[in-house]
Symmetry: C2
Subunit: 294 residues, 2 copies
């Protein structure tokens, strides 16, 4: 069973997010070349998984999608910043991202570093939106700062090693994945819940959901890298093995990795069961995330 | 008249800031190699001009220095982030910073990009401190996000050009300087005032002070680069001319640049006159900043 494309409703959500991302960048009134680079970094054909999760998790705790939009933009801007910097020659040295030249290939390395840098303050400024109470602004800022910092730690582990030596290989791998990918995905869910004035009980459920799909997302990415088709995926595949990167299939094998995906999807589904509002879209999102092929 | 060293009281302030910066980094519980890189980026022998301004401007509007500490740390972390990224081979390609190898020379380019990245979320998280009201947290975040974004724009102008063509050469130069250096210095002052619960009238005065010394700081830097002694300054001098960078002395000459410094110092002093609290330390800071030789 595969779902090469996300469910139709998610494509709708992604479309709305794209429009908002684009206006957010225009509002910054950047000089033309920086504006172009920032736009290239952000309007990049991404699936918008993280901001969609923010909107849907807000809805899943009884809020409206609209309420969570500024938080969703912040999350996606942080994600786009990380892609631009991770692709740099000194880090992952990727020439291709979603089938197009990476920003440093297109606009040079200086512009890629600086346009990436720019996206971070723009992201944090989104959280000081009028529709959030002061407490929400503070909680959202803390969550996003921690996840951004965890993401950088994960990228450092992945690129430069330095993991705690007492950890077993699988624990080390989980430590990389949870930081590099899981933290921001989990934060996307939590931020949506915060925007929806979540109860502390439902917040636990959303955190458990976010934690499960965050790790699952990266294991599926590892599996796609191993078996994927570069034309479909839009970036080089088999690159992890070539770069000697530690992956789930490389560490525990393909079958055990697929089993982990199934377990994490189940864990995420169980977490959704405990919520009192409509979580159907979130459940179909979860199903797609477990079975996606790109 | 030259003041090669800052006034003694400012050295005291800088010492306190250093202690707080160091504990702030330890609190982040980073993996050892990233912690070392972040420490190297931050505990770098800097003069701590910006955070000192934050503390002193808080005092100058009737607050205590202590109240402004978290905002001061945030400002300095943003400054340190910008130094690490600006020094990168693809941007200013500097091997030396304050007499020591730059971070990418010491720890490699990947670590320099990532450790720089890390400092930004840590900076923004400082502003969500318990001692600030919700309104203060929001205002501080907005100010810091705008100044960080302006700083990146200034660095883009300085490295990659792209200034509005209708501007005269001196206006172009001021546009670079005000963004690249002035914005964060002015923001340091404004954030201090916000921490001190400033009245809107005094906020105007502090903004005028910050705007004047922000531009002045960079003109003095240009003059030091031209005439400085590399051993004393701790970085290569004459580098601006070599790199073909536009500077104040290069655009309007040395004497006219010195005259601008005097005028800006006077403008900053006038702004201080209108404040009702003790601004003596701030005035001596202003005097030193106009006459410093490194």
């Amino acid at each position: 069973m595969t779902f090469p494309n996300p469910p139709a409703e998610l494509l709708e959500v992604a479309k709305i997010i794209e429009i908002e991302l684009e206006s957010c960048l225009i509002e910054q009134q950047l000089p033309p070349h920086l504006a172009e680079a920032a736009r290239y970094a952000v309007m990049n054909g991404g699936k918008r998984v993280r901001p969609a999760l923010t909107l849907l998790c807000c809805e899943a705790v009884g809020g409206s999608r609209r309420q969570a939009m500024h938080a969703a933009l912040a999350v996606e801007l942080v994600h786009c910043f990380s892609l631009v910097h991770d692709d740099l020659p000194s880090i992952d040295n990727d020439d291709l991202r979603r089938g197009k030249p990476t920003l440093h290939i297109k606009s040079g390395e200086a512009m890629a570093v600086l346009a990436g840098d720019l996206l971070l303050p723009v992201a944090f400024s989104q959280l000081i939106a009028e529709e959030y109470t002061c407490d929400q602004q503070a909680t959202l800022t803390k969550l996003l700062a921690k996840a951004t910092s965890d993401m950088v730690i994960g990228q450092v582990y992945d690129t430069l090693g330095g993991l705690p030596e007492h950890l077993e290989p699988l624990e080390q791998l989980e430590e990389i994945h949870r930081n590099k990918t899981g933290a921001l995905i989990c934060c996307s869910c939590q931020m949506g819940a915060v925007c929806g004035n979540v109860s502390s009980e439902a917040y636990e459920a959303i955190s458990s959901f976010g934690s499960a799909i965050g790790l699952m997302f990266q294991i599926v990415d590892d599996l796609i890298d191993l078996h994927g088709n570069a034309a479909l995926v839009g970036k080089a595949t088999g690159k992890d093995a070539e770069a000697g990167k530690t992956t789930y299939p490389g560490t525990i094998g393909v079958e055990a990795s697929k089993k982990s995906v199934r377990e994490l999807q189940k864990q995420a589904d169980n977490a959704l069961q405990s919520l009192n509002f409509d979580t159907e879209t979130l459940a179909s999102f979860n199903l797609w995330m477990a079975h996606r092929t790109r």
